[in-house]
Assembly symmetry: C2
Homo-oligomer: 379 residues x 2
């Protein structure tokens, strides 16, 4: 699929898993791809240079957080807007703020026109309509913008999920019409909603077909539902998402979650998991994961993962990383974040190679068999 400035091609298929390439003026993204999360205009603890060296081809920015701090006006003063502000010249995807408003819980009021809430930064009243969310994303000059949506809670009755989804779809059309009204700086993706109800998910898709969105995201997952419910939604959508468009699963997840989604035709992912876990001492390895705070690592002169090629594993011991963590040293967060991001970006590389070579099923089985949750090994 292509429109001026954006082109998405599926290069190879292995079952329903797709190897693809999303091309934008600022660079191309090999899919399935993982987008590191740069909430406040920085992927926490990393420089853009480090992200490039890790092989990141696109990062995510949070519209909600950036509009409150420092404000879109400040960012727009920089050449290239968010690109210039944060020194990242490759593509940026911005979310619409819908999910963050949803997370505010009691502080928000949702109406047909949009949402009203108190800024968690300074308590000031803020109104965010689909049109505002588009103006902010246009101001940020992100390469991919997201429609403004009402993220449905979990669990809710069918009637509530339906009302929320239909509102999201009306907002999606308003988002589209406002975003594309004149020389948009990027491309707008739709967000499919409908909670865990498969009929609503399909109705959502049908309603979105009223506009030629540049890509399709699956929203409203990773909100506390069991894994089976999430996989069921992906399964029900797999055959219905427009095959010529990129498919983006928002906010997911662990390596095995990513594998389940790739198997059902998802191309793009974002998640705070690698960066947030790094700050909590949780480190991903090929043999599962470990918590560097465990006393067992006090005198461990080996690397986090002997099979890992990242610069943290090349230069530093578990004992050193544990020491830095205990002392609250910034370098500890840096080295752990770099390792975890390398793990995720390397996972995506391995997934792409497996699809290309027709052995994705085999890789998926291996990743499914790995320990799923973080458990500290016995000291």
């Amino acid at each position: 699929m292509s429109e001026p400035g954006l082109r998405f091609e599926v290069v190879a298929r292995d079952g329903r898993a797709r190897l693809g390439r999303l091309s934008l003026p600022r660079g191309s993204i090999d899919t399935p791809a993982f987008m590191p999360v740069g909430t406040y205009g920085t992927v926490k603890a990393m420089t853009p240079e480090e992200l490039e060296r890790l092989g990141a081809q696109i990062v995510l920015g949070n519209t909600f957080h950036l509009m409150l701090r420092p404000g879109v006006e400040t960012i727009a003063r920089h050449a290239g807007a968010l690109h210039g502000f944060m020194g990242w010249q490759r593509p940026i995807l911005t979310d619409s703020g819908g999910f963050q408003v949803f997370s505010l819980a009691t502080l928000r009021r949702i109406e047909e026109e949009g949402v009203s809430f108190r800024s968690p930064v300074d308590g000031a009243p803020v109104r965010l309509r689909p049109e505002d969310a588009m103006d902010v994303q246009r101001g940020l000059c992100s390469d991919i913008a997201m429609a403004f949506d009402d993220c449905t809670a979990y669990p809710v009755p069918h009637s509530v999920a339906r009302e929320s989804m239909q509102r999201s779809m009306r907002w999606a059309l308003r988002s589209y019409d406002h975003y594309y009204r004149d020389e948009p700086p990027g491309h707008l993706f739709a967000i499919v909603q409908g909670g865990m109800y498969q009929d609503l998910r399909l109705e959502s898709l049908e309603l979105l077909a009223q506009r030629p969105f540049a890509g399709y995201a699956i929203g409203g997952l990773a909100v506390g539902e069991p894994e089976e419910a999430r996989v069921a939604v992906l399964e029900s959508l797999a055959e219905h998402l427009p095959p010529e468009r990129a498919h983006y699963l928002m906010g997911v997840g662990y390596p095995h979650d990513i594998v389940e989604a790739v198997e059902r035709g998802v191309d793009l992912f974002d998640c705070v998991m690698p960066t947030r876990h790094a700050r909590n001492g949780h480190l991903f390895t090929a043999q599962g994961s470990l918590n560097i705070r465990n006393a067992a690592y006090q005198d461990d002169t080996g690397p986090i993962d002997p099979s890992c090629s990242c610069s943290t594993c090349q230069h530093y011991s578990r004992a050193y990383l544990r020491h830095l963590d205990r002392c609250g040293e910034i370098l500890g967060v840096r080295l752990a974040t770099l390792h975890n991001l390398h793990f995720y970006l390397d996972l995506m590389r391995r997934i792409r190679e497996a699809i290309r070579d027709g052995r994705f099923g085999e890789l998926a089985a291996r990743i499914r068999a790995q320990p799923r949750r973080f458990e500290a090994p016995v000291a």
Copy 2:
């Protein structure tokens, strides 16, 4: 001056200012030199690779902090000890822990044998004698170790300063005899004490002449005394420090403090100023200094210092740095630390060039004329 493994040569003089080179098996240090402080085995927020790119030729490690966390045993398990632990292959100087014990104030007890104190980490009782401080520094495998000293408080009467200094000198001799007892991993510097009393400073120097220390540090300054008192001590020592040895002023200071000391024959400096100030938003520039937290920088798209060649100033705006600081983002500390360290290391480069070209007086006058304290500009 040279002893096996260490060589110090004065290459040029401009007045009493000296351009020199301190050569060690792990690398050479062009003097006057600034040593970034790596308290816990990390120069806060920086990687060794970044420090090398900034031109740092030696860093300082804190014996006191490292012996409490993670403990010298853990570090000694790594090939190259502290070098391997922190991934820094160039020279390391370790202090002796004397100054940190001094800073503990009421928690310590000083006796002829050594000091006893409660660990600020876990409250455990710790005894630190000159011999222990040498064992720890030998275990860390630092290239330059410091004699264990009793840092004299300020202000104190002559009699108190004398007693403290004489104890320090007895400890210095014990330090020497224990450090060099068999295959020392590096070289031991003496520390001249004596408070603000010039006669005691000279007596201290005379007492130290009983052993052939590899270098001479001036301790007991930067403890709250006025600048004039500090300069007077430096002035009184300038003609008496062994000219063939390196002279190291501990824990000092602002750029103009460094210039006053270089003018009086000092070759080595260390200070937490650039790194600590960076974490508080204080940034050094050729036009004085600024605090990035000032609201005046909210929309300032210019670099910290237009005349600065560091990578922070090449890529990021004041507005971005202020934003990162407000959001408590690690990247903000990284970029600020990198800039301030670049400023200090560049200052030393400029000082060395000025001595070489016989225009140190001119440079010193310019630096003296710069604003001395941090003052936020009017918003």
